[in-house]
């Protein structure tokens, strides 16, 4: 079986680490599909869509999935606050212990789960992640939420939807739909983690 989240895992390896694999790193193999300004516009649009769909985001809580979902959730919260004038609670939701591929690789370090003090009961929780691919991360996130309480509704916001779903998962807010082949690797870089904003698409010889 392939690794479930090649995009996420690639994204987790150090920024700019292009050597080491069988791929031929070169400008032809890596293409920037979103520039910093485009990422900013996509997030602004998502923030407005959240406001429209949730009647002013009164009960909304944004929970980012580590690593890169967390700064994305924070940026969305800032944008909603700029428009609406009230703060939006945001935090992080680590899904490591809920993954379905834990036994396929050595145990990994945990991320941080940080739920705002008001708790998720009755809230409209928007799960935020960088790339939506197989949908397995989202399934794990739904399980993790279930152990934290009972939200009124759960929605999903992603910066990139690259297709190839393996589970019946559908995003509510999408920054950019990016048709890809399974051999390609999508990496989201964010200033908070990678000291630059970009979405890059690359090609690997074999996706392992």
């Amino acid at each position: 079986m392939h690794a479930m989240h090649p995009a996420r895992d690639q994204a987790r390896s150090a920024a700019g680490a292009s050597g080491g694999g069988p791929a031929r790193p070169g400008p032809a193999d890596r293409k920037t599909v979103l520039e910093p300004a485009e990422i900013g516009r996509a997030l602004t649009r998502i923030a407005h869509e959240i406001l429209e769909r949730t009647d002013g985001a009164a009960d909304v809580m944004l929970l980012g999935i580590p690593t890169r979902g967390v700064p994305l959730a924070r940026r969305l919260a800032e944008r909603i606050e700029q428009v609406e004038g009230h703060p939006v609670p945001h935090g992080s939701l680590d899904i490591t212990m809920y993954r379905d591929d834990l036994r396929l690789r050595p145990a990994r370090a945990l991320g941080r789960t940080e739920v705002p003090p008001e708790g998720i009961d009755g809230a409209i929780v928007v799960i935020v992640d960088d790339v939506l691919y197989s949908g397995r991360t989202v399934r794990a996130a739904l399980d993790a939420l279930n152990d934290l309480g009972r939200p009124r509704a759960v929605q999903l916001a992603v910066l990139i939807d690259r297709g190839h779903r393996e589970l019946p998962v559908r995003p509510d807010y999408v920054g950019k739909n990016l048709p890809t082949s399974k051999q390609e690797v999508v990496r989201v870089l964010l200033t908070e983690v990678d000291s630059q904003d970009a979405v890059i698409i690359g090609r690997t010889g074999s996706s392992t």
Binding site: D94, R103, P106, R108, L110, G111, L148
Partner: protein, 312 residues
Amino acid sequence: MNRHLISAADLSRDDALLILDTADELARMADRPIKKLPTLRGRTVVNLFFEDSTRTRISFEAAAKRLSADVINFSAKGSSVAKGESLKDTALTLEAMGADAVVIRHSSSGAPHRLAGWVRGTVVNAGDGSHEHPTQALLDAFTIRRRFGRPLGEALDGLRVTIVGDVLHSRVARSNVLLLTTLGAEVTLVAPPTLLPVAVGAWPCAVGYDFDAVVPKTDVVMMLRVQQERMNAAYFPSVREYSRRYGLDGTRMAQLPEHAIVMHPGPMNRGVEIAADVADSARSTIVEQVANGVSVRMAVLYLLLGGAEAQA
């Protein structure tokens, strides 16, 4: 990380930090309404206890259950061991029952090491004779790091830890010396000469006989239990004399630096190695140590059992 956890010496600095950081994340779960994770669903953890224990067994049981593992408790009393079954036969029986991990407490030093050669699953040492008790050392390191407010990823560099008392019979002391040194702490042992092991010179720590001389220069005091059940000779003239020279009472505690903390692995002999008012003071971490024990053991079980089986 190794497949088993037999000795604190098996852990590199990175391994130990990974365990402490993981435990830190897991500790945050303690105030959630549902204190359970699905991670070890379908895995079986056997608690194999040949020696009496309350806190360690319950702690391991709680840790395994919070990770959704199935737990089988086995104590030597009332089992086939009482009929003379050997450790190996017991181990093979457990193996046949499909144990993924065996948590073993045994009165003989080295029993977990032998067991690891007989079973396919992971072996976790929960205390063997006067040899080692690695998870106790991990929870002590975790407690120290928290009390001194050190963030994730940081070790115990520069902290001065004094371990006082019956080092000779103490598995806690040996594991702590090994682990705390790995994590960068400076460890000093203080004990009457009769209660120090012969080979203590080879341990990576300082040794002293005068408690009062060390007290003002220590950040952490770890009091060891006087293990009367393992003492088959007169190691000190009288309990009163031991208590006066090596016990921690209010007067001695007053000589500690203001930020210093007092630890004890339990169970305590109040009035022997530690005075009741010291044990109940705000500096004492004794109750915290128990609570932290569950988080640390969850981290150990997760890291040993949660992923794919490590190669060799």
